[in-house]
């Protein structure tokens, strides 16, 4: 159960003179609940973009389930089971949530290139889409255009799409930003409750959530890995405190 599913070696990305990712090597094990934290601009989002193929690395190799995927196009990586969410919502504004999910499910089931039967003719697809809508509290807005939904609902749809792809590796980039405090925990519980063989990488600045979710953490600073360890180790690491967590309980008063 504990073999490495996703790993990268010596991954680097430069934008002109800026080194956004600097020689990052990372391993994600099967079933992991792994958190990636680090200061703003440390390169977390960039790393996810590299792993999923949205950006092309300046150097380095990416391996998914034993195969080198460094050269694959983004959609090919998705077909191999690696799925992500976006820090800033990326949705299909002119579709309804129902259509969106039906599309994702049929694409996931390899029906996306079919020209003939109408979308939704396949019973299984429609059922699965409906099921996802209910699971993510989207049933009552299923027929509204996505572009007109409230922010929170859109955030939920963003995550529902990722899960509809039935990932074996899931990369979440600040999934609960903008979600009301009360709903955040529930949302992460849905993620945590994914089948045990699904591996999850979570980026998040809300430390309460991160520490309750993760069983392993990597800290990224200035594009490079600062340290890696269990949540307790990280919480106790003075370097991490200095560059990221800050010293708590230091009163700031007027």
């Amino acid at each position: 159960m504990n073999e490495v599913v996703l790993s990268c070696q010596g991954l680097a990305k430069r934008f002109g003179g800026i080194v956004a990712t600097n020689d990052v090597s990372l391993e994600l094990r099967r079933g992991a609940r792994h958190a990636l934290i680090g200061p703003n601009g440390a390169g977390k989002t960039t790393l996810v973009n590299l792993l999923t193929g949205v950006l092309e690395p300046t150097a380095g190799r990416i391996t998914l389930e034993g195969q080198d995927i460094s050269r694959l196009a983004p959609h090919q990586r998705v077909r191999r089971g690696m799925v992500r969410t976006f820090q800033i919502n990326q949705l299909f504004a002119s579709m309804t949530p129902l259509q969106t999910l039906a599309l994702v499910v049929s694409q996931q089931r390899g029906l996306g290139a079919r020209w003939w039967p109408a979308l939704g003719r396949d019973r299984g697809v429609a059922e699965r889409a409906q099921q996802l809508l209910e699971q993510f509290h989207l049933a009552e807005v299923a027929h509204q255009q996505t572009g007109h939904l409230a922010y929170g609902k859109r955030r939920l749809l963003e995550i529902a799409i990722a899960l509809a792809c039935e990932p074996r590796v899931l990369l979440l980039d600040e999934p609960v930003a903008g979600v009301p405090a009360g709903e955040r925990e529930e949302l992460l519980q849905t993620v945590a409750a994914l089948p045990a063989e699904v591996s999850v990488l979570l980026i998040e600045h809300d430390m309460d959530l991160v520490f309750s979710f993760a069983d392993r953490m990597t800290v990224l600073v200035n594009g490079a890995v600062l340290t890696e360890g269990t949540p307790d180790e990280i919480a106790a690491n003075p370097q991490v405190k200095a560059v990221y967590l800050g010293y708590e309980n230091e009163a700031i008063h007027v």
Binding site: F15, G16, G17, I18
Partner: protein, 287 residues
């Protein structure tokens, strides 16, 4: 050889002045104004009619052409264009093409459909030969005027905040206003200035390109090529694109007259496949 280069540069410069307003409205304001050529035509007709009917000297016509087109641009911006900034691009295309149709028919109605012919003042008619380089005085004049304009424009956009305020307004009107930028004024003046430049280009170009009511349609493609190839993020892009286009067109016709239009279009396609966002893109991140 040198003469061909000279003619090409003059032609390119002219295209630049004609198209730069479009580069600004399209590139910066993100508004597809296919009626741009109509403003150029207005400038051309102002000049021709003033010269023919009122005997106004050519040099005095040029600023009048600029002012006339700019005023027209300002009035139309205020009344018709403003609500369209927020509409989809295709609606803008439909709207501005509609304006072109109207302009074409209106000019035809009031002035007639024949080619307008102007008589330049004698000092612009001559020609100077220096070795193998022959320079028509009028083309020399065009180059001088256009170069001066380019420098002035570059100065306004690079040395003042106007350029970035304009871009900010385009990116997000609501927030730009919230940060203290008078969005309406910025748009109005940009649009009027772009139209004015087009009018000036039309006035300068009537002699070389000819002037009849189909002008806005005939040259629309050339303007679009300049903007597409030059990219829309700076003045230098369209300038170089226009010069490239002008020289390639003239040289192509001189050296391989049989190839006709192939050269310009092939060149454009190759450049755009190679640099899909034009020769010059705003990149940032190089510091």
């Amino acid at each position: 050889m040198l003469t061909i280069l000279f003619d090409g540069i003059a032609y390119g410069m002219l295209l630049f002045v004609l198209a730069v307003g479009l580069a600004v409205t399209m590139g910066l304001m993100n508004f597809i104004n296919l009626a741009h050529g109509a403003f150029a035509m207005v400038g051309g007709y102002i000049t021709v009619l003033l010269m023919q009917r009122l005997d106004v000297p050519f040099l005095a016509c040029l600023p009048l052409a600029f002012i006339g087109s700019a005023l027209l641009g300002a009035v139309l911006e205020r009344t018709l264009y403003r609500p369209l900034y927020r509409k989809p691009h295709l609606d803008q295309v439909l709207f501005s093409i509609g304006l072109v149709f109207m302009a074409v028919a209106a000019v035809d109605y009031y002035v007639g459909s024949t080619q307008q012919i102007t008589q330049l003042p004698p000092w612009l008619k001559g020609r100077t030969e220096i070795g193998s380089l022959g320079m028509g005085h009028y083309r020399l004049f065009i180059i001088a005027v256009c170069a001066a304009l380019t420098i002035a424009l570059q100065f306004v956009l690079a040395r003042t905040r106007f350029g970035s305020r304009l871009r900010a307004s385009v990116d997000d009107q609501r927030v730009a206003a919230g940060m203290g930028i008078n969005v309406n004024l910025v748009f109005l003046s940009t649009f009027a200035f772009g139209s004015g430049l087009a009018g000036l280009g039309g006035a300068l170009g009537a002699e070389v390109l000819g002037l009849d009511p189909s002008f806005p349609l005939k040259f629309m493609i050339y303007f679009l090529i300049v903007v597409a190839v030059g990219g829309t993020s700076s003045i230098t892009g369209p300038l170089l694109a226009a010069l490239l286009l002008g020289v390639a067109d003239v040289a192509g016709k001189y050296y391989i007259p049989k190839m006709g239009a192939f050269i310009v279009y092939s060149l454009m396609i190759v450049i755009l496949l190679w640099r899909p966002n034009g020769l010059f893109v705003r990149q940032g991140g190089k510091a």
